[in-house]
Every structure is written in structure tokens, then in C-alpha cells.
């Protein structure tokens, strides 16, 4: 019999399935081997409940905290490892790398309550941190952990704050300095029987969820939890197998959401669990009766029609990136970036993602450069969107559908590009007349060779330009042959 490895995809919203305990419990309940647990808060057998006092100083750095006690726990090495691992997973996941919530777990029998969560100046904090032999001030700890591969990532969370969070017991013993490190005094061992769990946070809702997870997952190792089971019918049964205890009351279904399921916030979440329990592939598929008549978006319809005829005219379609460098749309074309009206990206990883393109030309020229060895002439076109700033739009920018073509050969071929323009106008039913149709006239443009550039006018409005590219532009794009190009708006033709 060979071992079978099962890969389980835990979705991002199921914190209760992050540890073996939670996963096993869920499966057993689903397979009716275990009753769905009901978690209860239980008071201590003797004495008062523990208290965690939060002082106002924490507001400046880490305002919230919640705490709980797990009593009469029995740890084995496996359970201990699982306990630590769950804290780490929660830290990385919902706690957003300890920035939102930080978990501290302590051996309750080594400390005494009531506990105080406060914040003090770094120089005023001094304790022996976990696994160290001597005491350090908080300031010293910041330097000490700068080289620690695990802890150095968390230092920035409190480093520059005037005060650092710190939790004491009634004797002044430091439990922890969240979110960095616990004190060595209260550390948990295999012999620990009672666990004090504190969660400090900048987000109270998440702190509560995290605490619920820690407590519920490991409550099975405590001798003080009782489980209830109830039977119900059909959906109620399915839900209960999903740890959502349910019963029918007349026409309605009453469902109890355990603390392990903070993702259940609406009835639709309950419904999904019922469907999962039923088995998605067991659901009968049906066809909706929705009768609709389809409509094409006019701009896309026009684009589709034009593409076909441009290929028929002997040009090949390219598909280029919408994001590029500033140089691509400005310097290399003999223009200044401030003239382009381009949209700028704030967090580009490389220069290739600095701006969104304002012209299709650089993409086409780069395509030629990458395909230099292909036989000449190279005739490419693209009909696609560029992005321009626009104050009239709610987001401050809009797309503009452009048509662009280039001809690259031993001779510039202006007449070829011009011919393509004429053909395009013919397809768009625009006559070659001034006023009511289109005409071209000489223009000055630094992207083009002087005297070899023309502006395209349709019904008196400029829609684009064509011409022989300036030798500087040709060189900037690492090309060697003459090249003519055309770019125009096609939205006016809708």
C-alpha cells in the first residue's frame, strides 16, 4: 500500500482550517464521525477570572488588546509544534505580518495577574527576551534584532514610535513587547498546563477573530470543553456537517455560527456551505430562461471590421503593451513628457512600467526592432487603446481608440502609408474632399522628417498625422531603414 499525498487548498477566508486540529475536526464532523462542536466560555473552578488592564498610552502605538486563558492543557511535542505553527500562520495571514495583530502565548503558572498592557519610552523598557541570557533595553533590542533574519521585518512596526507597547504582570515581569518578542520568563514548554493568550492589535475586529482561532483550535486539548450534538433535517444536517449547527423551526432554519467561522457574515455564506456539503457536482444543472438580444459595442464592432480589411490591404496586426517607459512616448519620439498628457504609475518595478502609452507608435517600432531579420518590407498595424489624462472623467483619465500603421523598408514608402490612409477612408465612407470629407496638409512635427509630415483633417477637425519618421526617431528605436508611419483617432468615425 503506497502513501497518498493529498494537496489541500485552504481558501484565504478559512482561518479555522490553517492547523491540523481544525482541518481534522472539520473533516470528522463532515463525515459524521464527530458531532459539531459548540464552544463555551467557562469560568475558572476557583478564584476570579484573569484581567488585562489597557492604559491610555497604548493609543499612540497599538490601541487594542484581547486575551483568553486555556486551562488544563496537555501538550505533546506535536501539539506544541502545531500551536506555534498556527500562531505563525495567523501572523502571516490575517494579522498582515503582525502589523494588524500580534499574538503572545505564555505559561500562566509562571506569572500572576492582573496584567497591564501599556506603552513606554524605549529607554524605559528593560527585560530578558525569549532565548536570551541577559536583560536588554528596548532600544538595545532594536539594534540586536536588526540582523535577525526572522525578527528584523517586524521592527519597523514600532521602531519610530515615541513609545513601545509592553505587557507586565502584577510583579512587573514582562510578558511581551508586541509585536516583536516575548519575555523569556513566561515562555511555554511541554510541561505548561495553563496558557495565557494575549492579542494586541491596531484592528480590534481582527484581534477578536485571531483570539477565537487560538482558543477554539486548541480547546480540544483542554479537559473543560463539552460538545453538544443535535439532529436536524436535510439542510440542517448538511450545515451541521460543516460545523454550522442548525435546526429547523417551522419554515425557517436556525443556524449557529461558531467562533471558528468569522467568514460567515451573511446567509449566503451559510448557503455555500450547504452546497459544499451536498457536493457541487451533484447539483442538477439548469438553463436560465433569460431572454436577451445581444448588442455589440459600436467601437468594438468598428474595430473588428477595420482590422479585417487592413489585413486584406497587406498589413500585419501587432499587439503591444499598454505600459511603457517615459522615454518611449516622449524622448525617443522627439517630444517632451510634459506635452504628452500621460498617466503616470507610482510604483513601477522597472522603467517599462512608468507610464501608460499615449501613442501606438513606439510599440510598433519596437516590434519591428525585435523582428529585424524578417524579409522587407515590414508592414504592421494596430488598432487599440491609448490612455490620456482627462479632467472630464470621474477618474481623471480616459482611453482613446487609435489606428496606427508603419511601413519599414529600404525606401520610406510615404505613398504606401498614404495609400493605406486613402483606403481606410474609403472603407469608412469618407470622401477625399475638403470640408465634408478628409484632406491632408503639411505639418511640423518633431517626430517626423521635416517636409515629410502631414496632418489628417476630417470635416475640418484634426484626427491624426502621417509621414516619414525622423532619422533620430528611427535610431532611437534601434532601427536602420527608412520608415513611414500613420496614427489616427478612430472614435470620430463612430
Amino acid at each position: 500500500m503506497t502513501d497518498c499525498i493529498v494537496s489541500i487548498d485552504v481558501p484565504a477566508n478559512r482561518y479555522d482550517l490553517l492547523c491540523l486540529e481544525g482541518l481534522a475536526r472539520g473533516l470528522q464532523v463532515f463525515k459524521n464521525k464527530l458531532d459539531a462542536p459548540r464552544y463555551r466560555r467557562v469560568s475558572p473552578v476557583s478564584g476570579d477570572r484573569q484581567r488585562l488592564i489597557i492604559t491610555k498610552e497604548t493609543a499612540a502605538v497599538r490601541p487594542h488588546a484581547v486575551a483568553a486563558v486555556l486551562r488544563n492543557i496537555t501538550f505533546t511535542q506535536e501539539r506544541y509544534d502545531s500551536f506555534i505553527e498556527l500562531q505563525e500562520k495567523l501572523h502571516q495571514n490575517i494579522c498582515r505580518k503582525r502589523s494588524l495583530v500580534a499574538i503572545g502565548t505564555h505559561d500562566l503558572d509562571t506569572i500572576s495577574g492582573p496584567f497591564t498592557f501599556t506603552a513606554k519610552r524605549p529607554g524605559d523598557i528593560s527585560f530578558r527576551p525569549l532565548n536570551q541570557t541577559k536583560e536588554y533595553t528596548a532600544t538595545q533590542l532594536m539594534s540586536l534584532y536588526k540582523t535577525d533574519s526572522h525578527l528584523k521585518h517586524y521592527l519597523p512596526i514600532i521602531e519610530d514610535k515615541p513609545v513601545y507597547p509592553i505587557i507586565y504582570d502584577s510583579n512587573g515581569v514582562v510578558l511581551s513587547m508586541p509585536p516583536i518578542i516575548n519575555g523569556d520568563h513566561s515562555k511555554i514548554s511541554l510541561q505548561t498546563k495553563n496558557v495565557f493568550i494575549e492579542c494586541t492589535a491596531t484592528d480590534l475586529t481582527k484581534a477578536k477573530i485571531v483570539l477565537d482561532m487560538m482558543v477554539t483550535m486548541f480547546s480540544e486539548y483542554s479537559d473543560f470543553l463539552s460538545f453538544f450534538s443535535e439532529s436536524a433535517e436535510s439542510i440542517a444536517q448538511l450545515l451541521t456537517r460543516m460545523c454550522l449547527l442548525s435546526q429547523t423551526t417551522g419554515d425557517e432554519l436556525e443556524v449557529e455560527i461558531p467562533p471558528t467561522r468569522p467568514d460567515v457574515i451573511h446567509a449566503c455564506d451559510i448557503m455555500e456551505d450547504a452546497a459544499v456539503a451536498y457536493g457541487f457536482n451533484n447539483i442538477t444543472r439548469t438553463i436560465p430562461r433569460t431572454y436577451t438580444v445581444a448588442n455589440q459595442l459600436p467601437l468594438n464592432k468598428l474595430t473588428e471590421l477595420l482590422r479585417q480589411d487592413l489585413a486584406a490591404a497587406g498589413f500585419t496586426e501587432a499587439l503591444n503593451f499598454a505600459l511603457c517607459s517615459q522615454e518611449d512616448i516622449a524622448d525617443k519620439l522627439g517630444k517632451r513628457i510634459s506635452e504628452t498628457g500621460a498617466v503616470h504609475i507610482s510604483n513601477p518595478k522597472t522603467a517599462d512600467f512608468q507610464v501608460a502609452r499615449t501613442t501606438l507608435l513606439p510599440g510598433l517600432l519596437k516590434t519591428i526592432a525585435a523582428n529585424r531579420k524578417m524579409p522587407l518590407p515590414l508592414k504592421l498595424f494596430e488598432i487599440s487603446d491609448v490612455v490620456l489624462k482627462d479632467q472630464n472623467k470621474d477618474v481623471g483619465a480616459r482611453n482613446s481608440r487609435r489606428f496606427s500603421a508603419v511601413y519599414y523598408n529600404k525606401t520610406p514608402g510615404f505613398e504606401v502609408i498614404h495609400g493605406l490612409l486613402d483606403r481606410t477612408m474609403q472603407l469608412l465612407e469618407v470622401k477625399a474632399v475638403r470640408g465634408g470629407g478628409y484632406h491632408i496638409q503639411a505639418a511640423d512635427d518633431s517626430t517626423f522628417f521635416p517636409g515629410r509630415c502631414a496632418e489628417i483633417f476630417v470635416c475640418g477637425k484634426s484626427v491624426g498625422r502621417l509621414g516619414v519618421l525622423h532619422p533620430d526617431v528611427i535610431s532611437h528605436f534601434e532601427l536602420t531603414m527608412p520608415c513611414s508611419a500613420l496614427e489616427m483617432d478612430i472614435e470620430p468615425f463612430l
Binding site: I265, H266, L299, R307, L319, A322, I345, N347, V395
Partner: protein, 464 residues
């Protein structure tokens, strides 16, 4: 054809001999230059199976210019000897009485074509002195072939207008075509394979009655891209390293304010039967402009617009357009790709309906075996990953993602409570790469495209 005379003379010679004849010998006996014979052989070959000519090469020795001079006038040594007067010169004692001009005799032998009488050593010696050179001569061994005849009939290559007019084609013989060769490639333009696939998907949606959404807006506000979809503000997807944020224009300023308030409330406090996320929802976060991470942002805009109608009407929408992710790039991932999305909004839509629509959609792609697996999206509940069985790989592969939009997304828009909205999506690049057998996405999208691949790519037929 030049010189049919030579060709026919050649044919007559071949007829006379048994076996075959050597072209060099034929040139000699016909009294023409060897090259003329070679020309005749070639033209005879072009007629078909008249003769067969086997190329042979032979080497023979020839005199160089200097060698020829010596053959005529004697070797240098002999000439020196010959020029010594009988009285002698002081060095004459060292010389012999008479000489035999060995060199000249050897050269004369070669000149008369009897180089075989000489030993290799002698020939190589003279070759070193640059008096002899070894020349390779190519000749043909010509024999009769199946259509041998002594007359040469000229073959035509093509039909001409004159032939048609005069009817002279009836008397002519035409050279046979070589059907093994390729034809002339037409000089045409080509459409980009990804766009060809897009056209097909667009066609499929239109056939199913889906209306195209206006997606010509790459820049979107976080509000429409995330918040309206009930994606919380602290969600990792809204991080710097997954999303492209803009520095200019940094923020969006226009919103449907009433709706925005309802979105704020459902996130932070709950409502519409939901507990909400219970966090502090910030306007500044929602205002941040980004490059949209999905076209679902447009679906949200369209559903909001639908909800503003006096009376609700069921709709089916689709879009296929570009989205942007600021993630790590590799052989199959780029920062920009195309998302395909379908949406159906109607009263009482069920999970069974979603599966039914997906079956219809994927059937048009030739995929009939589908399975569904529970998944998680912040804005759909339930969510399903869609798998199809790949016959080649012999396993189930993911072909799309789908779900039912959450009430927290739809109800603040103002859609009626009993209306549910199902949606599904997939990428355009993946089926294209599978269809056209492309492994590296950069060869398909962007300027590093393999243009030859674009020229050669076949029609896009998705269902076969």
C-alpha cells in the same frame, strides 16, 4: 533554345555507339568547345527522358604558361647551356659536355597528352616548380534514355495569348510541371493570433445573447475596482505589489455619493442581512486610482447603472479586455493580459443555472466534460473553480473561475432582493497559447512577438 544543331549532332553520335559516350570525346569529334557540348546536354535533359547524363570528373595534367614556354624553347638550364659559346666560360668545367633536356621532354609528353607515361614523382616535381598543374575536368557520360530520338522537338513552358488566339497550342508540346514544389506565397497581411481568438470568444458570447460592455477605460478608481465589489480595504490584493497605483492622476473625485455611503456602511457596519467586515472604511483609500486588476470593475458599473432603471430587466453582459497586475513575471505571466468575463442578472438565478450557462459556453469551445470545485473570491459566494478533462494530459485542468455575486455587493446598488447575478471569467492568453502551441507568452504578446508565427498561424476554430 540555342544550337539545336549541336544537340542533334550529339544525338546522332549517341545513337551510333553502344553504351554511351563521354562529352569530352564528343566535343573533340564534333570539333566544338566542351562547354558547347555541356550546354547541349543540359538543354536535352530539360526535354525529359531523351538522354541521361552522368556527371563525371577527371583530372589531367596541363602545362602552365611557364611550362608551355619551356616546352617550346627548352628548359632554363638547357638554354643556359645552349648559350655557352664553344670556347666556354670559366664555369664550363663544372658542366657536362652535353645535356639531355629532361624537363623539356617531360613537358612535351604532357602536352601531347601522354602524361600517364610519367611517374607521379616526376609530375609532382614539375608541379612544385609551377610548370605543371593538375586540372579537374567535369564531363558527362551520356547514354540513351527512354524517350530517345535523334530529333529535338522544342517544349513550351506556358500557354500564351497568341497560342489561344491562333490555336497553335494544339501543335505544341508543353514542359511538365513539378507538382512537388510549393507555389508562390501570396503577398498579404495577417491578423494577430490572440486577436483571432478574441474574435471567436466575442462571437460565442454574441451567439448566446450577451451584450458587450464598454471596457475602454484602463484607469479605474479603487472604489469601483474593489470597494463596490465588497473587497475590504486591507485585502492583500490592494497592495502595492499586486496593483499598479497612479501618481498622476492620483485620486478620483467623482462618485455616486449616495451609493458610496451605502458601500461604506456595508463594509464597516454591515446591513442588508450582513455583519459586514467591521473596520474603518476610508474614502481616501477608495479614491486611489489604479490600472484595473479585473474587468469585473466594469461589470460593477454596469450593474449599478442597471439598478438605477425604473424597472429591472434581466441582462446578459460580456467583456474581453485588458487588465493589469503588478506581480512577478515569468514564462506564462505578464503584467498585462486579457480577461474574458460573462455576467447574467435575473430573478432567482441558482447555482444550477450558473452551471448550465457554463456548460453551454464551454460546449462552444468543444469542451463538454466539466467539474466544479468550491473556491473563494471576496465578491462571490458561492464561488466555483471550473475544470475540464484534458484528453492529452489525462487530467482535469482549470479552465475558469465563477460565482454568484454577494448580496453586500448587489443590494447597496439598489438591485431588487430577489435578483441574483452569476458571473464567470477566464484569461484569453491561456486558451490561445494552448491552441497555437506557444510556450512563452512573450512570443505571443508584446513587441517581442514572433512575426513568422503571426504570418503562419492558422484560422482560429475553437470548437475543433
Amino acid at each position: 533554345m540555342a544550337d539545336t544543331g549541336v544537340a542533334e549532332a550529339l544525338l546522332r553520335q549517341i545513337e551510333k555507339v553502344d553504351g554511351g559516350a563521354d562529352s569530352l570525346e564528343l566535343a573533340n569529334s564534333l570539333g566544338v568547345d566542351h562547354q558547347v557540348v555541356v550546354g547541349a546536354v543540359k538543354s536535352l535533359q530539360a526535354l525529359g527522358d531523351v538522354i541521361s547524363a552522368e556527371l563525371r570528373s577527371s583530372k589531367h595534367w596541363e602545362l602552365t604558361e611557364e611550362g608551355t614556354e619551356i616546352a617550346e624553347q627548352g628548359s632554363h638550364e638547357a638554354r643556359v647551356f645552349g648559350s655557352i659559346p664553344p670556347e666556354g666560360l670559366p664555369q664550363a668545367e663544372l658542366m657536362v659536355e652535353s645535356i639531355q633536356d629532361q624537363v623539356r621532354e617531360t613537358l612535351l609528353l604532357v602536352q601531347r597528352g601522354r602524361s600517364t607515361q610519367l611517374e607521379e614523382k616526376e609530375k609532382n616535381e614539375l608541379k612544385k616548380r609551377k610548370l605543371l598543374s593538375e586540372v579537374t575536368v567535369k564531363s558527362y557520360w551520356i547514354t540513351k534514355d527512354s524517350s530517345f530520338s535523334t530529333t529535338v522537338s522544342k517544349q513550351e513552358t506556358e500557354l500564351t495569348p497568341e497560342m489561344i488566339a491562333t490555336g497553335s497550342w494544339k501543335e505544341k508540346k508543353f514542359k511538365p510541371y513539378n507538382f512537388e514544389a510549393m507555389g508562390v506565397a501570396p503577398d498579404c497581411g495577417h491578423l494577430h493570433p490572440l486577436m483571432k481568438v478574441r474574435t471567436q470568444f466575442r462571437q460565442i458570447f454574441l451567439e448566446m445573447g450577451f451584450t458587450e460592455m464598454p471596457t475602454n477605460n484602463f484607469i479605474e478608481s479603487s472604489f469601483w475596482n474593489f470597494d463596490s465589489l465588497f473587497q475590504p480595504q486591507q485585502h492583500p490584493a490592494r497592495d502595492q505589489h499586486d496593483t499598479f497605483f497612479l501618481s498622476e492622476p492620483e485620486l478620483a473625485h467623482q462618485f455616486p455619493w449616495d451609493y458610496l455611503e451605502r458601500v461604506k456602511r456595508v463594509h464597516s457596519q454591515g446591513g442588508y442581512g450582513s455583519q459586514g467586515y467591521k473596520y474603518d472604511w476610508k474614502l481616501e483609500e477608495a479614491q486611489k486610482n489604479i490600472l484595473r486588476t479585473h474587468t469585473t470593475a466594469v461589470s460593477a458599473r454596469m450593474l449599478y447603472k442597471l439598478a438605477q432603471q425604473e424597472t429591472f430587466s434581466p441582462v446578459k453582459y460580456f467583456s474581453i479586455d485588458r487588465v493589469f497586475r503588478n506581480e512577478t513575471l515569468d514564462a506564462t505571466h505578464l503584467a498585462e493580459f486579457h480577461q474574458i468575463e460573462g455576467v447574467v442578472a435575473d430573478y432567482g438565478m441558482t447555482l444550477g443555472d450558473l452551471m448550465g450557462v457554463l456548460h453551454q459556453f464551454f460546449t462552444k469551445l468543444g469542451i463538454t466534460k466539466l467539474r466544479f470545485k468550491p473556491a473563494y473570491n471576496p465578491y462571490t459566494e458561492p464561488s466555483m473553480e471550473v475544470f475540464s478533462y484534458h484528453e492529452g494530459l489525462k487530467r482535469w485542468v482549470e479552465v475558469g473561475n465563477s460565482g454568484v455575486f454577494r448580496p453586500e455587493m448587489l443590494l447597496p446598488m439598489g438591485l431588487p432582493e430577489d435578483v441574483s447575478v452569476i458571473a464567470w471569467g477566464l484569461s484569453l492568453e491561456r486558451p490561445t497559447m494552448i491552441k497555437y502551441g506557444i510556450n512563452n507568452i512573450r512570443e505571443l504578446v508584446g513587441h517581442k512577438v514572433n512575426l513568422q508565427m503571426v504570418y503562419d498561424s492558422p484560422l482560429c476554430r475553437l470548437d475543433s
